[in-house]
């Protein structure tokens, strides 16, 4: 009897063990980050996993080295403006690709999707040259511009637009709306969960963007939080306590955005149009 019950429970046991390991691997870096922020540099290096008493010291030390309001402002500015423009441009493109019939439509769309296969490393130098010609090196515009027509987000919006009822567009035309009005007055509100999901994704991509800002942002006044953390970690004698404080501060806005939009994010990922 007991053996039978055990045999029946075995798949569940495996499932929980597997999920437990996966959860641990996901959460451990966060826990380590939080514990690290309370410990001295040496303790962190030695792998201490208990809470220490150096939190205030680490914060003070971090704030003396980093102009926190400035770097946070830089990051928030780039993330918000970049996300807003990316969403507008890419959702317009996704809407257009789905709504307008043309014999060139699928060819152009395929060409855009093909750009997903090109690694960013191959684009860095031409992009840098372009920004140089435009006099945009060391400006936030240079960080934002290359990402606004995101092939992935265009793809995402086109796929989501397939669930947008075409009769709503027809009804809006009968009500006298022009195409751009249909987009802003009908499509955007109806697809709000899709926008919420896209917002979370694009915001995180912009916020965590490291390589491209590292190339185009050269003065301390323009640097973002990711660049500052990197420079703290790569100094001659890094203080990992400060680094942990920086990482926690860098994580907070993305967590905030995710939790605020969690419900809409899940609906958007499921493709809900209600």
């Amino acid at each position: 009897m007991t053996t039978q019950r055990f045999a029946r429970a075995l798949p569940d046991i495996f499932q929980y063990v597997f999920l437990g390991i996966a959860a641990f691997l996901s959460i451990f870096p966060f826990i380590w980050m939080l514990i690290g922020a309370t410990n001295k540099n040496n303790d962190i290096i030695q792998g201490r996993l208990s809470i220490g008493s150096s939190l205030q010291d680490n914060i003070a030390s971090f704030l003396t080295k980093v102009d926190l309001p400035l770097v946070m402002w830089n990051s928030i500015k780039i993330a918000i403006i970049g996300t807003a423009i990316t969403m507008l441009v890419s959702s317009l493109a996704g809407y257009g690709f789905e709504m307008f019939r043309s014999k060139w439509r699928e060819r152009i769309y395929s060409a855009i999707l093909l750009t997903l296969m090109v690694p960013f490393a191959a684009l860095m130098i031409p992009l840098f040259k372009m920004m140089g010609w435009g006099g945009l090196i060391n400006t936030h515009t240079a960080v934002i511009l290359p990402g606004i027509a995101s092939a992935f987000i265009i793809f995402y919006f086109r796929q989501a637009s397939k669930a947008f009822p075409t009769e709503l567009r027809d009804a809006a035309k009968m009500d006298g709306l022009k195409e751009w009005q249909i987009f802003f007055y009908i499509y955007v509100p109806v697809m709000r969960s899709t926008y919420a999901a896209a917002f979370v994704i694009v915001f995180m991509l912009n916020w965590n963007n490291y390589l491209w800002p590292l190339i185009v942002l050269q003065s301390n006044e323009t640097k973002t939080i990711t660049l500052v953390i990197s420079s703290l970690a790569s100094s001659y004698t890094p203080n990992f306590g400060e680094v942990m404080i920086g990482v926690i501060l860098a994580t907070l806005p993305t967590l905030f955005v995710f939790f605020v939009m969690q419900r809409q994010f899940v609906q958007g990922m499921l493709g809900s149009v209600k």
Partner: protein, 362 residues
Amino acid sequence: MADVRLTDIRKRFGALEIIKGVDLSIKTGEFVVFVGPSGCGKSTLLRMIAGLEDITSGELTIGGAVMNDVDPSKRGIAMVFQSYALYPHMTVRENMGFALKFAGMERQEIDRRVNDAARILELGPLMDRKPKALSGGQRQRVAIGRAIVRNPDVFLFDEPLSNLDAELRVHMRVEIAKLHKALKSTVIYVTHDQVEAMTLADKIVVLRAGIVEQVGAPLDLYDDPANTFVAGFIGSPRMNFLKARVVAAEAGYVTVALANQPHVKLSLPLRSSTAKAGDEVSLGVRPEHFFPAGQGDADLVLDVDVAEHLGNTSYVYANVSADERIIVEHEEFRGARNRDRLTVGLSTAKSFLFDSSGMRIR
């Protein structure tokens, strides 16, 4: 004046012609129903009238004005869609008033029109709900209300009842008929449901493959179909077509014998005198136009396949021969059992005759 006139209207998608030259005249206040099987172009034709599809060639006039290139919102029309097409982020009130607000109408006038429509359609308690909180029938009423508030010259309905269950469909059908009587507007209504067409229409337009097969009042189409397509499409269950051959042709009269039961002969008056002896023809008999044996002009022997007895009437699915199956309907066939042999009467007066191309000759 809201008469609608279509003159040689055509629609092409690339090389494919969907609407192949439609001529139609709809009078002010008329309730016209477009019927036809899936893919016949009835919805495309409606969308062309609405302005949602371009007209490749031909001329559309509404109230005497050419509308080919006029914006949908400026044609004096309102449309009710199959899926209702209510804006999900707006309340019922906002949905109904949206077009008016967008046209720059004053707030008081919008409220007056919306409230009037809500009263007519009994939407009062639902006005502040979003569409997702409404049932199918309520959504349909809101969709109609949204059309009413615009006070259009012409209402367009695109299969408006096809998403409703059977009971609600009957209810809404009656509501639409009452509404038309009250508003006296011109209505163009698309459906594939011939019961809707027969009960609602002043005039039915039967379409097949982008061509108008016949236009007429519902009972005229039932009594006087122009060809086998219309004869088969109007009437439920559909008309039976029995293979037959002309055995004698005289002035104005023809005698036909059934191909599968040659002893069954009927003499029928002709519409046109083109038929001659030996021609293959189809004898059209509606299921409800069979009679008990001996009560018609000739008797036909059938092998019953399935008999359905509904109380008020009976449907008998039977074989004339191995490859010819028909349906007969009569209250007196309630004794018929599966695999029985049944003799039924055929009446000359209730039979139609079609030539080999499907055109009616009697």
